[in-house]
């Protein structure tokens, strides 16, 4: 078989599958499954990433696999879009796999071999989702992805919360999948015409196209955790073991973004700008909703999960913007927005993985995930702390790291949207920009809380004294991902030139030029806006170093260690620091209407005063509980039909018979 990047990528996926199965050879052996197979998986990941990156610029490749349905074998196809996401998958999963090598311990729920199987099947199915070129292959891969991740989430199935989390996750995933399936049903070319090519060829009336897009948005939104379909995400992501959480947040959510892009730009082909507004609106809503809830969380993994919702929101904002621009025929801007979107996908994959793995290390070191019981870990686990700091700064959108680049691009896209033909869209977009800006600022708030409470200050529990730093392998994994963040931050031009190929292919545009110089990013023209992270970083570093050296050179005064100043109040202890709740208090105060809070305030005369506040998701009580109630109600109603009396049953058939006879007469 002649070499093609497609086959090579498939081979990598196959290798993942094989590695997974190999895990079942000795399912009980941690040494074999954990310490031997996971590094192999990481290697495959790196190889896949390299292949993908090289292949971005190469022409589209297709192939047909010998499996599938009789009239419908698996079609696979690799184009630039798929390559970008494959690169994301490979790159991020490599770091995560390396970390997992050192992470998984004995006696954590499922057997190591089983875990290995599920983990690698998960990876492989995500890869197949990106390569699939017909509805059936796509759906099989899609649902396999959901299924394997479900089993990973419920690794520790003895804990009821985790079980219910898994249930909720799989339920919403499945309903979403059916919606996607139906949207394929709309787009299909006719009987047995389920290949994507047939869908590209098929011409939909605007109405049906809208239906298809709506179903797809629903389905993929459910997977991506778009508000209001997000409820499973803050439950499921924390429930999983940290590497899995990283994989789900970092990579799996992006497959949903991939799906939306694929459907709206490739399969439907001619998105209408009004769809864009919907996506934009949902995106902004998710971004805002996610970030304010992240700000009030007290469980570190839950906080990260909510922050994932925020980032997905920002990504969908980008998608919506792209659709709007593309719909009104502003090609260059559409490309800009699309690139911002893709860039943010890449960024989020890396930074969120760093953070989740960081929490994993903390969890292992302290056995504690409640922010209220952590603190001061930067002394005990400096590696994890500093590497996590990179992720924190990145996700807070601070230059010169990667988070800032995509934010910058997105804001540029908003900024030059000035002349969209539709006036009211014109008025709407700046508000969108404002929301994005607000969300990024809030993300900064959240991340300061996250890092400050976990790693800084004094340990809030005596037990934290025994915390140990992560092992060398785990550090390596973290380092890989952190370097990814830095690299993506410092060399935007190179990355964007790759992403531009996607934009060109997907939006059918002439190639845009993105940098006047290898170090200077200038989307439209240097006159409009330019950003050179390397130079900026360089200058800052130089100044910092000069300042430090200069000061030390001139003023050689000693540095004493002393107790922290206690303002004359002698018994100053760790409990006087802000708790996570305390740090979130301003947000709760400002955005009160969005939260559902139960406060437990002590009276001045309490013997043992106790302050508790629990923050609930309003949408849960507004949307989901009523839904459940309705279903139960209907079920009770239906149950009345079956009273156990045989006469009644006979009556049913009698009436049915008579009615049908009357019908045909």
């Amino acid at each position: 078989m002649s070499f093609s990047y497609l086959n090579a990528c498939l081979a990598m996926l196959l290798a993942w599958g094989a590695i997974g199965l190999a895990g079942m050879i000795r399912p009980k052996s941690l040494e074999f499954a954990g310490r031997t197979l996971f590094p192999l998986g990481a290697l495959c990941g790196i190889a896949l990433a390299v292949l993908a990156v090289i292949s971005i610029a190469t022409p589209v490749e297709r192939d047909v696999l010998p499996i599938g349905l009789p009239g419908l074998p698996f079609h696979v196809r690799r184009d630039a879009l798929a390559s970008v996401f494959l690169a994301l998958l490979g790159g991020a999963s490599a770091g995560i796999s390396i970390f997992s090598t050192g992470y998984f311990r004995k006696g954590e729920g499922a057997l190591p071999g089983l875990l290995c199987l599920e983990y690698h099947v998960f990876l492989a199915s995500m890869g197949l989702v990106l390569l699939a070129d017909d509805a059936y292959a796509f759906m099989v891969a899609w649902e396999t992805m959901a299924l394997s991740s479900y089993f990973l989430v419920t690794t520790q199935h003895r804990i009821p919360e985790i079980r219910s989390a898994g249930f909720l996750y799989l339920l919403i995933a499945h309903v979403g999948a059916i919606a996607i399936l139906l949207s394929f049903g709309v787009m299909q070319g006719g009987s047995w015409q389920f290949t994507f090519d047939a869908m590209r060829a098929a011409h939909l009336s605007p109405g049906w196209a809208t239906v298809a897009f709506g179903l797809a948005l629903f389905g993929f939104g459910a997977k991506a955790g778009l508000v209001p379909l997000h409820v499973w995400l803050p439950e499921a992501h924390p429930a999983a073991p940290s590497p899995v959480s990283a994989l789900m947040s970092g990579v799996m959510l992006k497959t949903a973004v991939y799906g939306v892009l694929r459907v709206s730009f490739d399969l439907i082909g001619t998105p209408q700008w009004s769809w864009g507004l919907v996506a934009l609106g949902l995106g902004l809503m998710s971004a805002f909703y996610g970030v304010i809830f992240a700000a009030v969380q007290t469980d570190m993994k839950r906080l990260l999960a909510w922050s994932s919702i925020e980032n997905i929101g920002i990504i969908f904002t980008g998608v919506g913007l792209t659709i709007v621009f593309h719909g009104v025929g502003m090609g260059a801007l559409a490309a800009l927005a699309l690139i911002a979107t893709l860039y943010h996908c890449l960024n989020h994959a890396f930074m969120k993985s760093v953070l989740f793995l960081g929490t994993g290390a903390v969890l292992h070191a302290t056995g504690e995930r409640n922010l209220g019981r952590l603190g001061g870990l930067i002394h005990r686990m400096p590696w994890v702390a500093w590497l996590t700091l990179v992720g924190v700064l990145a996700i807070a959108g601070l230059p010169p790291l990667n988070g800032f680049v995509s934010e910058w691009l997105l804001l540029q896209a908003f900024l030059f949207a000035g002349d969209v033909p539709q006036t009211f869209v014109n008025m709407l977009l700046p508000v969108g920009a404002a929301v994005v800006a607000l969300c990024t600022a809030l993300a900064g708030y959240v991340m300061v809380k996250f890092f400050g409470v976990i790693f800084l200050g004094q340990p809030r529990e005596a037990t934290l004294g025994q915390a140990h730093d992560a092992g060398p392998v785990e550090r390596l994994g973290l380092l890989w991902l952190a370097l990814g963040c830095v690299g993506l931050g410092l060399f935007p031009v190179q990355v964007i030139e790759m992403l531009d190929i996607v934009a060109r292919e997907l939006l059918r545009l002439p190639p845009g030029h993105w940098g006047t110089d290898w170090w200077l990013l200038a989307p439209a023209a240097a006159r409009h806006a330019s950003y050179g992270p390397l130079a900026l970083f360089g200058v800052t570093v130089i100044v910092v170093v000069l300042a430090a050296l200069g000061v030390r050179a001139v003023y050689r005064r000693r540095v004493h260690r002393g107790p922290a100043w206690d303002c004359g109040f002698v018994r100053l202890d760790a409990r006087m620091q802000d708790t996570a709740e305390g740090f979130g208090q301003p947000i709760r105060h400002i955005f009160e209407p969005f939260f559902e809070m139960q406060r437990e305030l002590p009276t001045p005369f309490d013997a043992a005063p106790r302050y508790r506040v629990t923050v609930g998701d309003r949408l849960w009580t507004l949307l989901y509980l009523p839904l459940g109630v309705t279903v139960r109600w209907v079920a009770d109603l239906v149950a009345r039909l079956q009273q156990g009396r045989i006469a009644t049953y006979l009556l049913y058939s009698f009436v049915t018979l008579i009615t049908l006879l009357a019908l045909v007469l």
Binding site: E143, L171, I178, G185, W192, V631, V638, Q642
Partner: protein, 485 residues
């Protein structure tokens, strides 16, 4: 020849086991006969692959693409079930739930039941088809009441009366069909009930009579298919009988019934040239799917749960046949195959689980994966398969059905989406805590022999990713045969 063997072996088995059914080695004998039957079925299949469809015994018997795979399937599931029931019924006997005499009844009736189903599938004579269906009912009634518990008696009674009445309607329908046919094929009614002949002249059959006939047939056989609102006997019968019987009832008998309905539908549609039969079937199908989904929500008995899921899937199949057309028919046939395999596998797992817990109540079954991984994973995978999660075959057929529905009957898709969602929540929400979670029960000393479960699941898995070409060919031919818009 093969057909003779195919039908002879179970009949002989029924006779022999009626004599020796109480012996200690009776279960093995049961397996032996089932194996013989399966072998005959394989031989028949091989012959069909070689020489194509055929008519035998003065056209009384017919083997065509539509029933050949069903015959094989029936024989196969019959075999695996007999294998499963060997240890199962032994344990039941040890627990003192069944006496030796009843074991005798059980074994011989089991063979008889297989025989009747095979006759129903292979016969070319619609009258004989009816007789066989009735016989199948009668042979299973006593199996349902095997335990003689009040519940089982009640279930058996309802099964008997409701199906009896239903089947009576079917007889009248058959009669009307005969009446219409006689006018075309001549008064000497030798050939007038032979499906092949009817199919040849279906264009000339009298529409009004046929439409009436179809109503009777649909209500009649539909009762046995378990279409809402005629389904009320089904959950009781499936839940109260011994588990092997539940497996074959859900897995096979329903298939046979729907087979009968479709055979009739072909004739009627051919004569009416109107969408009436299709619409009726789609209506029944949707109603069954939706009602079953909501019934699932409140189940506390695990076997009842899966009985309702059978109703749901029968609804899906009926709906698909109602839609008609190459894709939908193909999907429906595939769905019949994978459903019977999966559902019987689930019942095997459930049987052991319930036997272990000593109760069929869901809240008494917990943490299976801890007690016995094979049972736990068997049940989990089976349920996921039946819920239509890939890469299992059920997904393949549901994929085709849903996409086609979106194209041909978009109005139905919201209902299907709703029903599938509710059903998923109901079943999975009940299965998960049974398989996962804490449990007081200690680990089983010896893992139960669940080979059949995993064999079935393996086949279902394969059908999801690869359908053997000749099987696909049959599906296609059958789909063409069944036709539709």
């Amino acid at each position: 020849m093969e057909v003779l063997l195919l039908l002879g072996s179970p009949l002989l088995g029924a006779l022999t086991l009626w004599l020796f059914g109480a012996r200690r080695w009776a279960p093995d004998l049961n397996v032996v006969f089932s194996t013989a039957t399966f072998a005959a079925a394989c031989a028949l299949t091989a012959r069909v692959i070689a020489t194509g469809p055929m008519l035998l015994a003065r056209e009384q018997f017919l083997v065509d693409p539509f029933n050949v795979f069903l015959v094989t399937l029936t024989a196969f599931v019959g075999l695996t079930t007999s294998i499963f029931s060997r240890p199962y019924m032994r344990i039941e006997a040890e627990h003192g739930r069944v006496s030796a005499g009843r074991l005798r009844l059980y074994h011989s009736m089991y063979q008889l039941f297989t025989a009747t189903m095979l006759v129903a599938l292979t016969t070319n004579n619609l009258g004989l088809l009816w007789v066989a269906m009735e016989a199948a009912t009668l042979s299973t009634v006593l199996l349902v009441t095997l335990y003689r518990t009040p519940a089982s008696l009640e279930a058996g009674w309802k099964y008997f009366i409701l199906c009896g009445v239903g089947i009576a309607q079917a007889l009248f329908g058959t009669m009307l069909l005969y009446f219409a046919a006689e006018r075309v094929l001549g008064a000497e009614g030798v050939t007038a009930l032979l499906w092949t002949h009817l199919n040849a002249v279906k264009g000339q059959l009298e529409p009004t009579v046929l439409s009436l006939a179809f109503v009777f047939l649909l209500v009649g056989y539909g009762t046995k298919v378990g279409l809402a609102p005629l389904h009320n006997w089904l959950p009781d019968a499936h839940a109260e009988g011994p588990t092997p019987i539940s497996a074959v009832l859900s897995g096979l008998l329903l298939n046979v019934a729907i087979y009968a309905v479709v055979r009739c539908k072909v004739l009627v549609e051919g004569s009416l040239r109107s969408a009436l039969p299709s619409q009726m079937m789609m209506g029944f199908g949707l109603l069954s799917v939706v009602l079953a989904a909501f019934f699932l929500w409140r189940q506390r008995d695990i076997k009842r749960l899966f009985a309702y899921s059978s109703i749901e899937h029968m609804g899906i199949i009926t709906f698909a046949f109602g839609m008609g057309g190459p894709v939908a028919n193909f999907a429906a046939l595939l769905h019949m195959t994978v459903h019977s395999l999966t559902k019987s596998a689930i019942f095997f797992a459930v049987g052991h689980a319930a036997q272990k817990a000593g109760s069929q109540l869901i809240e008494n079954i917990r943490g299976l994966v801890t007690i016995s991984p094979t049972i736990g994973w068997g049940l989990m995978l089976g349920s996921l398969a039946i819920l239509g999660l890939p890469p299992f075959g059920v997904f393949a057929s549901e994929f085709l059905i849903l996409t086609t529905a979106m194209k041909q009957q978009p109005w139905a898709t919201p209902l299907l989406l709703l029903a599938l969602g509710v059903a998923f929540a109901a079943i999975f929400g009940k299965v998960q805590p049974m398989v996962f979670g804490e449990t007081q029960a200690r680990r089983l000393p010896h893992p139960p022999a669940l080979l059949p479960v995993f064999v079935h699941l393996a086949i279902v898995l394969m059908l999801g990713l690869y359908v053997p070409p000749y099987l696909a060919g049959w599906y296609r031919d059958a789909a063409r045969l069944i036709g539709g818009p």
